[in-house]
Structure formats: structure tokens, C-alpha cells
Symmetry: D2
């Protein structure tokens, strides 16, 4: 049996990746692909990466709600909430890839996204869709808020240490470098090839909107954790992938071997997280195109710090692959269906 | 008057950059350029970037010591110490770009470079050549140890905060991303184009050899500072430049404006450090080819942290440009001679 | 039913791509993966792109011949011929990705590869595996010589014009730019990241070994065609993909529309060649990871020339994807099995 | 003595490069730098590559004409002609970097630039500023049309063979690959980092506007040459540099050695053209940032063809460096003043 899928906003980067992944998915059938700018063209005309004759159409949410089993929302922040409000009543599986339902506190949404949340009443209806932590809630759920790209890499790097109580949870220092695709397809001078070629820079110091999302989720992992993070994103001269480096203060010294053991146990049953052996470290190229997350770590005994590094593909585990992983859980399918063989040397 | 210059090891990346900079230097004349692998070829044959007919020759240290006024050593670590030992007796200006004379404690050298220092007695004869901190010692000195590339970016980002006593000096968290040229011209699988294309990774977690160098210099900046740093280097998919992001714990909260004022005052008389206005952040492309260091910062009042970012070209301010800046001071020339107009959009 | 597959030389770039493609192939089972340098490691340890626990083993040709249905040879030129000689007697399907059986004239092999062909007697036993031209011979064949990467892009760009007799076949001018992966994983100074970053260059002017291969195949397309080509390869600063631009002299003027019609008819039944509409041109990114070849063209009426451009991924349509396409034909499977959904935005 | 310089349009890529080059020029003083979008900012604020406090101002042509000795026009095509018309009457040295005065036939201008030339009467007043061919006319001239980037690389690659009568001049096949900076700073989707990362493509087949410019200049080189060229430009995934590959039909066979001799003699007195020894070929990185042009060639005796390859930096020898070379000649300065030491490993 194949489930009918709608992708609302299919020609942005996350929509594109959904097409790539779902085309090869054993239980999915692409039923409705919408695009305001490319409506009327076939997928292969608008997105030559894919050999698909299916036509792109203007978004018709009612039709999507009536005819599809699963609806992925790949809309800009704030527009997505309005679409979700309309779609929820159809009782289908809804997965929102925007930021609109990630933060559960409307006040934080207003502060970090600069606009009042239009449907605060819906915030509690969605599950935060990070399967490695929330699979039990996502399984069978109707409405999932797909995590941000940076939060995915950061939370996966932090969760075992926080959960096991190895580290201080106030003021965790997180640095990430993302490829340019993380900014989406929109045109801005800073994303001109000539501006970012051979360039790397930090941006949005202190106030990046993914900060409260990371804190919200880490704080759930341990009683009174009240995690706070100092998060600094960077933009690098490549297209796909995020490397995240976390510096924790250890509550008490521990060997690298033991810290690794904590991580390995935590992720033992999680197919998409690879905890690397001591001395091996994550690389963005290793997860290019794939839904895997690599994690490596080392303890600095001298300074009583734990350094953890994670690598993901921001468009896959950081967006569309994870959305499909959520879909699998929501539909009661095997969690890894269609997701194990996506990687490619870049 | 032009000083006669020898570059011992002229065809590695730091040697190449010395040629580029010194060719345009108003007080320098390239007198001896040595290369074991390209001896007999002209500079333009071995290094087509440069329009120079001068012949490369095998290293003859005695001749260099007798005929040149300034000798730059661009040799691998440990080989450099032996060469320096021979050259010092000639009483000329000697600038060592290797790591051999940066660490003043032979024990740390042995620990981080994996070999006993061959001439520990000479360690005290050299000045650590970071002009923004040590100009008074470098001026007129005979022997300078040119700083490492990461330490240059890191120390410049940290010095004002440490010196002004704004921050805790134990456990400063430093993350850097370097271009591939930082690894030199040697061949290793990981530097194959296909391996590093579109890739970014962390490496040498906890134990990178530049860690004690950063600590040594920051510790001098304030009584009882005893700085310790958790330093994590990364390798990015580009050639030139280092971005360094520092997370400090503030001793007490301060506004971004005041923190910036501390940095601006500290570097007010330093020509090569640009403290950027609030809201503007360093980019590696802005310093490509140049001897400048850009610094930007922001205070995280909520978490009582100070985030400082610096950008340098690892081959210029992080190596050969700084070496020439040191030469200028050692010879009593204007500090910026030949160094102001090196930048280029990459 | 799944066929048992051996990949001899599984950790070079073409071996890697075979693993990627065959893992997702509906009729294939990876039975033996050999690697001299990584034997004993699992695939995921040696090639982190892939989530595969299968062990890499030292090559045992006898075992491969006895236990596998299809054997892919990904060995260096000349070593491959010796392996093929041993394997042929087992009567299995053999696909050689080296250059050893592409040229049917031993003299040309000796001239362009600098060594006498070790098994000239076997040259006639293999079919040249370009399915768009030779599907009828490949179907059911036992032994296929997989085309070179440049010849694939060049022959596909030229075949319709040559076959239809539109153009002079003497002195066709062909220019190609390849990504660095085309050179394989071997280390050479020129493939160091720092040497090829932001660089492009021509190489092997006039005498590239793919020249006679292109000529051999084009010459078969029309009676007395005796095609000769002036082929100039270039190396670009990226990893995957070849763009090929051909300048033909038209025998008589023709409109772009008509020339396009010739190409469209020629490839009407060929699933992996996309002849683009007038005004649209191939891009390497459009075929990244995929087995498709894009072709665009325009007539220069003023100069009576036809310009044709093709784009392929050198590792897929130019190597491993084509090898699987050949396997499909040799086994009587649908030609496109496992090959339609490999593309990805780079 | 220093000449006062105005750069009209100083914050586009060619304007920026003029600043870089002229800052270090022994006879130039930057007197007026105009920018409509950055007026009021200092150079270092708008263009952080440069350490210059000079203010950018709105264009005031009258003031430029009255107060400056040399005026560089870096304006969009067609706007430049109007500015030139106003500036010519001041009798200063005028160098136009736009396309407005390159083509001497107004009909060709209209055909290739899609608009009637606004001042056809001025076309004959300007000299085509390719110093390697026209130095005698440029020396002392008042008004120079600076060549296009592709024509510079193509004409330099072709001139000796055409001039010496070695080759057919009808239907010369020219392929070029340019870095993205060649398209200027304007925003278009195709120049988004994510669109051009790891991509290469051909564009404007047959009809690129640089075609008639190349033909115009090559046709002057030999009586009845009537050169026609089939020119195909490509866009590569890097920022600076053009590689141009020319395929000529030889009128009669000649050895590579002799062809090289022709090129070496032709350029013997030209400082900025390096004819490389047999077996050595141009690379874009070798001329990064520099005003040099590398040329390599090989004869294909079998096909009676001559293949010539050239490499330039499109922003330097292909634009601003050449403009300064023209300035030097127009002012009677040494042709290479300020231009010999601009190169840098990218």
C-alpha cells in the first residue's frame, strides 16, 4: 500500500529534498506537489535533478486535505501556521517543516521571529519531531513540528550528556558551521556566489532563533535541567551540511572512553546516529545526502570539559529526511523506511 | 637603503607568501631564496604566481648568515631549531616561522610536538613575535619566533578581554576553522581535493599543539591570569583564512558597547587590527591576502558571556605578513612598511 | 530474484559508486566487495557514506568467478586485463570499468597507454558498453568494456549528428571540463586541494587516451565516417561531472530546430538522454549523482557550425551508473532498473 | 609626480580592482571614487578588502573632468557612452571599461547589445585598448575602449597564429570558461551560491556579444584575414579567471616547436604575456590577481590543427589591470608601472 503525499512548497530546497527522498520511498506516492512560482511546469522542468513528469500545481489546501494522507508544509515561517490551521481539520498526517510550531512558548516565538504567533492555540497540538528523543510521542501522532537544522545537530550532540547528568546545563557553548543551502533559495547579496566563494563568517551572534529551540528540548531531558546555550552559527563556502562543536563543563571528570559509552548506550537503538570510535571524528561529507548523524567526542581532563562534534546534512537529517522519518513513525511504518541509502560522496 | 633578505625554504606556502610580500616591500631585496626540491629553477618557474627570474638555490646557511641582513626560516618543525642554532652566531636578524621557539617551556614542546627540543638553551633568546602585544620587545630584537596561525587569530581575539580583566581566564572556549593551506603543501590523503571538496570537519580535539601557545601568551597579559583554553580546530573547504570564535564567561555583565570600547582602546594604536562596529562581523574574504585582522563581538547578557570573532589570512597575518611586520620592527622600520595594500577579493 | 554481485576494487571512486547504486538496486545483492587497502574493514568503516556492515576482503578472483553472477572490475588499467583473462572462463557476466578492452586495436592501446596489451586475443570478446548505441549487442552479452568518462559525454553529444550525416566527421573539435574525481583517488601534487582550489586548466593536449576511443565509436555510426576528433580535456575546481562542448562543421546549413529534431528522434527511446528544448542548456549540477545525460545544441548559421553541449556525472553515466545499465542489459533486466532516482542537488 | 585619478563606478568588481591596483601604483593618486549605492561611506566600509579611508561620493562628471587627470568609467553598458560623451570635452585621459566603444560598427553594437548606440559618432575617437597589439596607438591617446574579458584571453591566444598566417581564419573554434566574477555583482538566481556551487555550464551559445569584438580585432592582424570565430563561453564554480582553448586549422603542418617559436617571437617584447615551454600549460590559479596572460600550445600533426590555451584573471588582465596598462601608455609612463607584483596563490 502506498500513502498519498502532498508537498506544499515543493520547489524550495526542503521541498526538493522531499521529492528526492519520497520518490524512492517504498510506501509513498507523490500525489500533489505545489509551487507558486513553477505551477504548470513538470517537476523535471523546474528541478532538473529529478526524472519526474508530474506537474507542479498552485497550492489548494482543501484538495490536499481531502485527497492526501500525508501533507508536508514547506512554507515560509508564519505562512505555514495559517496553512496548518486550515489543514488540521481534515484529520490527516501533517508535518510542518517551518519554525511555526517548534517553540511551545508564544512569547519566545514573538521574541525570536519578530511577529506574534497567529495561532498560539495550536502550539500544543504538535509534537516536536526529533525521533531520537520523541519517537514515542511521534508514533501515531497527527501533527509534527519538524526541528530546525541547527537544533537537530546540536540536540543530538548534547542529549546523552545532558540526560546522563554528566555536564553543567547552564551556558553550554555551541558553534556550528552550515552550508549555504541552509539559507534557502532566496536571493540576498550575501548569498551571491562571488560573496561567499572561499568565505566563512559568523552571523547572528547571541540571538539566533534556533537558540530557544535547543534550550527547550534539552531542558526536557533531565529534571531541573533548565539548559541554556550560547549558540554561534557560521556560514561556510559549500552547499550542504552542518558541523556542530559543543563544549561542555563536566560536573566531574570522566574518561573519553566512558563518555563514549554513555553516548553509545543512549543511541544504541537509534539507527540514524553513528557514535564514532575514539579518535574518529565526524565529517560533513560523510553524511552528504544522507539521514545519518555522525557524533564524535573527547574529554579534556585537564580542563574538565567534554567536547562533542556532530555532522548532519542540513537538508536531510536537518530537514526533509527527518520529516520522512517522522512520517514513517506517524504512519506506523518502519522508522527507517526509504532512508537508509541516501548518502553520496559529494 | 634595502636590506638583503634570505628565505630558507622559499617554496612552501609561507615561503611563497614571503616572496609575494617582500617583492613589493620598499626596504627589502630578495637576496637568497632556498629550496631543496626546486633548486636550479627560477622563482617564476617553480612558483608561476610571481614574475621573478631569481634562481632558487640549495640552502647554504653559512652564506646566508654572512651575506644577508635578515633570514626567514620556513623549515619544518625541529629542522628549524638546528638551522637557527647555526645562524644565530652571525648576529643578523633571524625570524623563525616554525613552531620551534614559540613555546618557552621545553616540557610543553616535548609533549605537544612529540620530540625533545634539540636546543632548549636557545628558547629564551627569541621573542614571541606578535607585534600587537610585544612590539616593545620585538623592536630591535635579533631573533623572533613567529606565532602560529591559530594562536594569532585566537590571541588577538582574546587579549583585550583578558588584559582588562573582563573575563574568566580558566577554560576559555575557542573554535577555529582554517583553510587547507594551513596544512602546508605536504601530500596526505585528507588533503586530496576530492576528500576536502564541500567538506568540513573538526580535528585534533583537545590536544592541538597551538593550545599551550595560546595559553602561554594570554597568561602574560594579566597578573595571575593563568589562562587555559579549550581549543578546537576545524578544516574547511577553501584555501586561505581562519575564522576564530571565542566564548568567554564574563566576570560581571557589561554592554556590547562597553566591551567594544575596551577592544577599540586596546587596539587604538594597532594598525592591523580592525575592531568592527556593533552589528558588523568578520569575514575571512575581507582579509584574504592581507595582514589585517578583523574583530567583532557581542555580549550575551542573559548568559553573562562575551562572544568574540576574529578573521585573519592564515598565510599573511597568521604567518608571512606577520613575519614581515616583525622584520620591520626588528630593523627599526615603520611597522606597516609594505604591508598595507596586500588584500584582494578572493 | 537477486543476482550476486562482486565488485573487484570496491574502494576507488568507481567501486564506491557501484556500491551506492547497487545497494538500492532491486535485482542486485552485494556479495563480494574487494579492497587491497581496506580488507578487513566494513564498508561503513572504509566508506562512511554508506550504511553497510559488509566486510571488505582481499580479491579472490576464483571465488568471485565461482560464487557471483556478475563481476565488476574496478582495477587500474593493465591490471584489469589480467583479472579479466582469469575470470572469463567462469562464464559469468563480466563488466570491466578499466580502459583495457575499450580500444579494439592493440596498436592504439600500446600508443595511448604506453604498454603492450597483455591479452590482445580477448579484445574481440568484449562489447563496447555504451547502451545508447550498442544495446542490441550488450543485451545478453557476457563481457562488456565500460566506456571512458569523456568518451561517454562526447559520443552521446556527437552520435546523432554523425549518424544522420549532418556534419563533417574529420577534425571534430571537442572540449571537456571534468571534476577532480575523474582522476581517481590516487595522490598527486596537482590533486592537492590547495593546488586545484579555484583553478582550471587544460591538460594532455592532443594526445589524451580517450581520443581514439571516441573516434573508434563515432566511426562505426556511418559508412566511411572515419571520424577524427581534436579532443582537449580540462580539470575544474569541483568533484563530479563533465561538461563537453562540440563544434561541428555542418555539411549544409540547417536550423537549430531541425538539428534538435534529429537529436530528439535519435534519443527518443533512450531513457537516460535528455535532449533539452531550444534555449535550454546542460548543467553539470543537473546530473549530479544521476545516470542521465543532458544535451543541448544551437546552430551557428553564419558559420555553418553546429554546437552541441552535453553534461554527465563522470562517476555515474561516465562510469558506474553506465556499468549497471550494462549489467541490466546483460542480465535481461529492464535497462533502467535501479537507475532512475539517483540524482541530487550537489 | 602623481596623476589624479577618478573611478566612476568604484564599487563594482572592476572598480574594486582598479582601487586595489591604483593604490599601489607609483604614479597614481585616487582622487575621486564614485558609487551611487555606497556614497557617503568610506572605501574600507564599503569594500573591506582595502585599508582606505577615502570617501565614496555620488558621480559628478563635471567635477571629475575638471579636477582629474585620468578617468576610468566602470559603468553598465550604454550608460557609459553617455558619460563618455560628457567627459571627452575636458581633454583628460578617458578609459572606458564598458562595451560601449569596443565595436566600431554601430550595426554590430545594435545587434549584440540589443540597443542602438547612443553616440555612434564617438566610436572612432576611441582606441581599442589591447596593448599587446595596439600599444603604438594607445601611447598618448586620449580615449581608450578597454577590451572585454573573453576577447582579451581569446585575442592573445590567437594573434600570433593569425598574424603569421599559420591558420585558417574562418571559423576559428574558441571555448572559454570564466569564474563567476565575470558576471559582475548583480543578483540573478543563477549566480546564487547554491546554484553555481560545484556546477559548470555553457551559456549564450553562438551569439555571445564578445564574438564580434574578437573578430574585429583578429581581422586587423593580416590583410584579408576576415576572421570569424565560433565562441562558446562557460561559467565555472570559482570566482576569478578565464581559461580559453582555441582550435585552429593549420594551413600547413608545422611542429609544436616552430609554432611556439612564432608565439615567442610575437610576444618577445610584451611583458605581460608568458609563452610557456613545450609541455607546460596555463592554469587560472597561476595568474590569479595578476596582469599576466599565460599561453601554451601544441600542434596536432595528425589532424593539422593547432591547439592554443590561454589563462588570464578576468578582473585584472581581462579588465582593470589592462585598464591601468592602458593608462600607463596614455600617460607615457612605463607600460608595466604598478602591474608586475599583483599575483597571489588563490
Amino acid at each position: 500500500m502506498k500513502y498519498k503525499i502532498a508537498v506544499i512548497g515543493a520547489t524550495g530546497f526542503t521541498g526538493m529534498e522531499l521529492i528526492r527522498i519520497l520518490k524512492a520511498h517504498p510506501y509513498a506516492e507523490l500525489n500533489m506537489l505545489t509551487s507558486e512560482s513553477y505551477a504548470g511546469l513538470s517537476v523535471k522542468q523546474a528541478l532538473p535533478y529529478f526524472n519526474t513528469d508530474k506537474l507542479l500545481e498552485k497550492a489548494d489546501l482543501k484538495k490536499a486535505g481531502e485527497t492526501c494522507d500525508v501533507i508536508f508544509l514547506c512554507l515560509p515561517h508564519t505562512k505555514s501556521a495559517a496553512a496548518a490551521a486550515k489543514l488540521l481539520k481534515f484529520g490527516k498526517k501533517l508535518i510542518d517543516l517551518s519554525a511555526d510550531f517548534r517553540l511551545k512558548a508564544p512569547k519566545l516565538y514573538a521574541k525570536y521571529y519578530g511577529v506574534k504567533h497567529p495561532f498560539p492555540g495550536l502550539l500544543k497540538e504538535s509534537v516536536y519531531g526529533l525521533p531520537e528523543l520523541n519517537a514515542h510521542k511521534i508514533r501515531g501522532a497527527a501533527f509534527t513540528a519538524n526541528p530546525g537544522c541547527y537544533p537537530t545537530g546540536a540536540i543530538l550532540a548534547c542529549a546523552p550528556a545532558v540526560c546522563a547528568g554528566l555536564v553543567k546545563t547552564a551556558g553550554i557553548v555551541i558553534n556550528s558551521v552550515s552550508g549555504v543551502s541552509g539559507a534557502g533559495r532566496k536571493m540576498k547579496t550575501e548569498y551571491h556566489f562571488s560573496e561567499q566563494h572561499a568565505n566563512i563568517k559568523a552571523y547572528k551572534l547571541v540571538d539566533h532563533q534556533h537558540t530557544p529551540e535547543i534550550e527547550q528540548e534539552l531542558s526536557k531531558l533531565r529534571k531541573n535541567a533548565k539548559a541554556t546555550v550560547s549558540f554561534t552559527p557560521h556560514l561556510g563556502p559549500y552547499n550542504r551540511g552542518i558541523i556542530t562543536t559543543v563544549a561542555f563543563d563536566l560536573l566531574k571528570n570522566i574518561s573519553t572512553e566512558k563518555a563514549l559509552a554513555v553516548y553509545k548506550v543512549f543511541y544504541a537503538a537509534k539507527q540514524f546516529v553513528k557514535v564514532l570510535p575514539e579518535g574518529v571524528l565526524p565529517e560533513v561529507k560523510n553524511v552528504a545526502g544522507s539521514n545519518f548523524c555522525e557524533i564524535g567526542l573527547k574529554v579534556n581532563t585537564r580542563l574538565k570539559k567534554l567536547i562533542v562534534v556532530s555532522a548532519i546534512d542540513n537538508l536531510v537529517k536537518g530537514a526533509s529526511g527527518q520529516a520522512v522519518q517522522n512520517m514513517n513513525l506517524m504512519l506506523g511504518l518502519p522508522e527507517s523506511a526509504g532512508l537508509l541509502d541516501l548518502g553520496m560522496m559529494p
